[in-house]
Symmetry: C2
Subunit: 325 residues, 2 copies
């Protein structure tokens, strides 16, 4: 009597014969997946959990949830300069909802195929809706981008624009409204469908001295680089890349707050030695990704300071933390 | 304001400088962990989720939970013949309970050290108590034990004894009682502290034709071998290894039912070609692990049949399934 049961869910929705990777010796269907790495490849592994109510709303569309769950994890690979390879998915479901599972798994496999990734295992359990994704990427040995390489004098860059995702979240929470549908759609898309900067991350491998993805908020995430590298920083907040839409929808002050503290932008924040500054801009331009210099690494004794049009501001760090938020 | 927050929990309880592995380039503290495999090593990955109410009771002791969560995952590596290496832990907690976290993490690291494993990453979120462990092991290239290698004529073996764990669960559920405290302690320990058969699994690598761990129940798990290998089987149920305690506490019929269908024994079920039958018994004896032959692989057309003292019985498969149980 396994109709509608765990094994049936896995075989019906998650054991698809789509992308095959040659480095997968055994995928779903044994006690473990078996993977063979090429010589001189380093394995990069990251794990993220998404819980209903904490990371997404009850009424999120299943395809948006699948997209975001994968994008959040891909963003961790991007921040290391890794090439996506394999995914594990542990999902808890309160009940078996076939249309939901169909839409969720369709969207997941569309993204997996796009990134030439293979789902290699997981677990399906009954429980409150939540999921833990384990993402595995590959990076040439010695080339991974770490948080610990920033040096005094390096320039601080970010990709894309910051703060849009926080504005999108505020829209979902009815804390914000827009003048036009186009503005609303843009900000919601930036929140629900962030673009993991996979190719940009790979382009940074030989040029950046450190990198992180902006998940908790720029100041919080840059703080991790500063701590790991034993350095300080100054940020020119008038240099923050703000989208035209964000600037049209909220005040300048709020836009800057969203950009500094909002989180979930999934852009890359990285540091670049002076010698590679031009090369970085060329590399990103070739990918069609905007890169903006927003500050510079200082000695640790300087802490982290914000400037606005050349004037030093008082600084109050705010990072997102699931247990204190 | 991170006191008691996510970062503080990770650094206080889970980012311990205990076992260091030379193949871990970067562990906890960056966007991804970075791992370097030796040439000719195949990576084995398994993921298991444990949810309160489904996989453990609310009042389980934190050290028992840590032990079991890891043992369940180690058992998947054992079934592949893999050597444990790295763990990821994604844990959802309803609140921050420092004594609980201390006891849980102490027990977890005690086991990790025992198996020379390193915790390389994870995620801490607020939510109903649940956890997803991702376990990573290493196996010499081409040597992993798969479910798909069983051949007509191979002998079916199991390690240890079967059914004790189901009896221990029945005790926790007040569905069973024992005459002595020693009997109760033995059965509870078999349920709460199963022994992952890591060394036995490695000893089987050159001798067994297929293997699986007994998590859902012998018949259900053997069924996976039969399906993957395209074969059938007969089981001599009077050959099932039953502990003296189990036989003293329940009827013969119930002991056999627990052994066939109970699950969570985390023993290995494996198949062995006739030519390796003696070598297997010697290899297991050298490890102090009992191995018992309980049946033989037949052609697929025979399905799966149970015999008792040479007499064929009607067969009704029952496997544990989270959505139909």
């Amino acid at each position: 009597m396994m109709a509608g049961g765990e094994f049936e869910i896995i075989s019906r929705y998650f054991n698809r014969k789509t992308t095959y990777r040659r480095d997968v010796e055994t995928g779903i269907g044994d006690d473990c997946a078996l993977l063979n790495l090429a010589p001189n490849q380093t394995l990069a592994i990251s794990v993220d959990t998404l819980v209903e109510g904490t990371h997404f709303y009850h009424d999120i569309a299943p395809d948006d949830l699948a997209y975001k769950a994968l994008a959040v994890n891909l963003s961790d690979l991007a921040a290391m300069g890794a090439d996506p390879a394999w995914l594990t998915l542990a999902i808890s479901l309160p009940k078996i909802d076939h249309p939901w599972l169909q839409a969720f798994s369709d969207a997941l496999f569309e993204q997996l195929d796009y990134y030439h990734m293979q789902l290699i295992g997981g677990d399906t359990t009954r429980g409150p809706l939540s999921m833990t994704l384990g993402i595995h990427g590959l990076v040439p040995a010695g080339k991974a981008l770490k948080r610990s390489g920033a040096q005094h004098g390096d320039w601080i860059f970010v990709t894309g624009t910051l703060g849009d995702s926080a504005a999108g979240l505020a829209l979902l929470q009815d804390k914000l409204s827009t003048a036009t549908v186009e503005q609303r759609d843009y900000l919601l898309k930036r929140h629900l469908r962030p673009t993991p900067r996979i190719l940009a991350g790979q382009a940074l491998r030989d040029l950046a001295s450190s990198a992180i993805d902006v998940s908790d908020g720029l100041l919080s995430d840059l703080g991790h680089i500063l701590q790991a590298s034993g350095v300080g920083a100054k940020i020119e907040q008038d240099h923050l890349p703000l989208s035209a839409t964000l600037q049209a929808v909220v005040s300048r002050e709020e836009a800057i707050d969203f950009a500094l503290n909002g989180g979930e932008d999934y852009e890359l924040c990285f540091t670049v030695p002076e010698v590679n500054r031009e090369a970085i801009l060329v590399a990103l331009e070739n990918l069609g990704v905007e890169g903006r210099c927003i500050g510079q690494i200082l000695p640790a004794s300087e802490g982290i300071t914000l400037f606005d049009e050349g004037k030093k501001l008082p600084y109050q760090p705010k990072g997102f933390d699931h247990f204190t938020a």
